[in-house]
């Protein structure tokens, strides 16, 4: 027993020796935790900042559709000199400065990242020195978008913007053109308490971290190549080679003059067109009538009999009908009449198709041309054009080498859908603009749009004028064909026979067969083909 007591005491000593360092470390840890409990910075309420224009207008958390980099920044945000209004909660401050820093590489809590004895990778956006606020309080901080995006490729050293810049004046418009390509850049904004020794105290708040991605995209996609147009009755079918870059999310199609505003447009000279009558020199005399006007001298432009007049007015209504019908890849506007009709069934139409570009040609239009505001290397390279049997160049794709931005007036944009672009999808290279007026020359250009809503440089401008056409149905009816009118059209044709007779025959035969089969099954004869005896 006595010997056993000695063993027990020795065992206790070993245990104490083993655990002593751990206990000591535990005490140190506890002490450290107590020391680091200090200022806390966090988001207050809604995480995402509101967007404030220079005139004080609050545009909410975004001005774009949900699918277009809704919470990030694009060129338009920067060009508008927008501010982001953060609502930040702070507590536990005892003389620390509340500083706001931005970075496109990540962490700004290390002093070295903020330029302390090092080349900075962060730049300061805002500073509120000597904050003494042990209790919780909310601080509203406006950060200029240009200050966020401007220094991303050349971080200032020292990394503090000037006082006037930080107080709202911000960097100039040049800050909006600092991204070298169309590749979007993730950004991070740090809100933190910095003590006089430049160390970060307590718990900072990072905006742009996981859960709150914050992407800046200031450059639009490359130029769509090979734009051309096909002409129809009150419509254009615009085609281009689809981009193959990683930035393009869709396309915007622009037109001048916008449908419905032709009178204020290009002032095209028109002459009268009469179906089944050759436009002769006499029609030139009527070209003095101004664009869109109604001429009373139209009867001189061709010999028209009553049926011609009837056909013409019908054709005109056809065009109107077709304009209002559904089924196109995207109607740009409400229908408009097919040109300016004269009282005798003739229409105004362009004399010789002034400045038409034809397939792949170009036109000059002041509204659609020369609107590139940023060119980040838009010389996309066409990859091996392919031609169809008719010699038309078809989609071969482009190899993008850069992007850019254009600034065509929104009034010339057609067919914007809920997703914010005219044509959704990078691989789509066609769009139908309807609701145009026959005989009026329109200029059209296409620009690619990225996932942030940046509109890239516009394509070559093409121009032409819509003209009346005869589709199969018109030719058939004009030739004397009497069919049509819908699936219940027999009454309209003057034969009040039930129009569903044919369908009834088919359904009746089927039902008869099924009934007979059921009878056979009930009779226990199912399982083999019946036999006539």
């Amino acid at each position: 027993m006595h010997r056993g007591s000695r063993f027990a005491a020795f065992g206790w000593l070993v245990l104490v020796a083993l655990f002593a360092p751990s206990v000591a470390r535990g005490q140190t840890t506890t002490t450290t935790t107590t020391t680091t409990a200090g200022p806390v910075v966090s988001a207050s309420g809604a995480i995402f900042p509101n967007r404030i224009l220079p005139d004080g207008t609050d545009e909410g958390v975004s001005t774009r559709p949900q699918n277009l980099n809704y919470l990030g920044l694009n060129y338009d945000d920067c060009a508008k000199d927008m501010r982001l209004r953060f609502s930040i909660t702070i507590s536990g401050f005892s003389g620390d400065a509340l500083e706001v820093w931005a970075s496109n590489v990540g962490d700004c809590t290390a002093a070295s990242a903020r330029g302390v004895e090092n080349v900075p990778s962060c730049w300061e956006l805002y500073e509120l020195a000597g904050v003494n606020s042990a209790a919780t309080q909310t601080v509203t901080i406006d950060v200029n978008v240009r200050d966020i995006v401007g220094p991303q490729n050349a971080v200032p050293n020292p990394p503090s913007l000037s006082a006037t810049q930080r107080q709202g004046e911000g960097l100039g418009l040049a800050a909006c053109t600092t991204q070298p390509s169309f590749t979007a850049v993730p950004m991070y904004i740090w809100f933190m308490a910095v003590n006089p020794n430049t160390a970060v105290d307590g718990t900072p708040y990072e905006y742009g971290a996981t859960g709150t991605p914050f992407v800046t995209d200031l450059v639009g996609p490359p130029v769509p190549q090979g734009a051309n147009e096909q002409v129809g009755d009150t419509l254009f079918i615009v085609n281009w080679m689809a981009n193959v870059d990683s930035d393009t999310a869709g396309y915007d199609v622009f037109i001048d003059p916008p449908p419905g505003h032709e009178d204020a447009g290009s002032g095209v000279t028109t002459i009268l067109y009469c179906p089944d009558a050759t436009v002769s020199s006499s029609s030139s005399s009527s070209s003095s009538s101004s664009s869109g006007s109604t001429s009373s001298s139209s009867s001189s432009s061709g010999v028209l009999d009553a049926s011609d007049e009837s056909d013409s007015s019908d054709d005109s209504s056809d065009a109107s009908d077709s304009s209002s019908s559904s089924g196109s890849s995207g109607s740009s506007s409400s229908s408009s009449s097919s040109g300016s009709s004269s009282g005798t069934g003739c229409r105004d139409i362009n004399a010789a198709g002034p400045t038409t570009s034809g397939a792949g040609g170009t036109c000059t239009d002041s509204v659609l041309s020369n609107n590139t505001v940023v060119d980040s290397g838009t010389s996309s390279t066409v990859i091996t054009p392919i031609f169809d049997d008719a010699g038309n160049e078809i989609d071969a794709g482009v190899s993008p080498t850069g992007g850019g931005l254009s600034n065509i007036p929104a009034a010339n944009l057609v067919g914007v859908e809920n997703d914010g672009v005219t044509v959704s999808g990078v691989s789509v290279g066609t769009y139908t603009i309807s609701g145009l007026k026959n005989g009026i020359t329109y200029y059209v250009a296409v620009a690619a749009v990225d996932g942030s809503g940046n509109i890239g440089p516009a394509s070559n401008v093409v121009c032409d004028y819509p003209a009346p056409v005869n589709d199969f149905w018109t030719l058939y009816r004009n030739a004397g064909g009497g069919a049509g009118g819908g699936f219940c059209a027999l009454e309209a044709a003057g034969e009040p026979v039930p129009s569903t007779a044919g369908i009834a025959i088919v359904i009746g035969a089927t039902a008869l067969g099924l009934q007979r089969r059921r009878r056979r099954k009930r009779a226990g004869r199912g399982g083999s083909t019946g036999t006539l005896s």
Binding site: Q230, V231, G232, D233, L235, F236, P275, V279, D311, D314, D315, S317, D318, S322, S326, G327, S328, I349, G353, T356, G358, A467, V469, N470, D471, F472, W473, L475, Y476, R477, N478, A479, G480, G481, G482, A483, G484, G485, G486, F487, A489, L490, A493, G494, E495, G502, I503, I505, V506, A509, T510, L512, G513, R516, R517, S528, T529, G530, T531, L532
Partner: protein, 260 residues
Amino acid sequence: MRLHAPCVGAAFAGVLIVLAPVVARAQEGAGALASRHSEYQSPQYFALELRFSPYTPDIDSDPALGGKTPYATVFGTSPQVLIAMELDWQAVRIPHVGTLGPGVGIGYTPGISGNAQFQQEHNGTLVSGETTTLQIFPVYAVAVLRADVLWRELHVPFVPYAKLGPAVGFWRASNTLGTSHAQGVVGLGHSYGSQVAFGLGFNLNVIDQYAARNFDETLGVNSTYIFGEWSRTDLDGLWFQKDPLRVGSTYWSFGLAFEF
């Protein structure tokens, strides 16, 4: 284009030469294999046909058009493709003849499309960029007689058949913006008529009876055929419809048929 009789004869002879050994082998094994197959074959009620046909609607033959050819003007004279399927119920078996029963079929012409024409020359052409299309859905109900006696009793793998019944063709004329309108009339409607067809099926079971038996045991398909068929879909409105769009045609079809 007419085929010369000698050419047709030579082609037919060629087919016979190719098929003769196959038929001979089938007959050799018929005693054992065919009887074994018949032991295992599942009940047979229906036939399903999948077919493809060159199709040119008779629209321009309408006397009301006065010789004008709106269809050919826009869509050309080359045949379009008709894709169709037909389901037959082999309701009764006539001893030493074959099966008789009703069938229904539906087809679709997916590719009748062309460019609308400018009313006057535009940039040196009359061809506009606007698309004009005609969709046709021929539907018919027919009585079908399949004379499979040659196959069932003589083990000759040819099955002639005939079909006859009423038909209706649903159609829609459209352009780039949707359904066409002209003279206030919408380009949408249907035309009544009749369907008659004669065809010859070649039973593929003769090529590999083991595979045929497996096909029957796993999916219940008793026989598989390739077939050629002459059809006349005459959608002229019969006696009661005024001014139908004559979307019917006379055409050859080729396809696969399954009896199950």
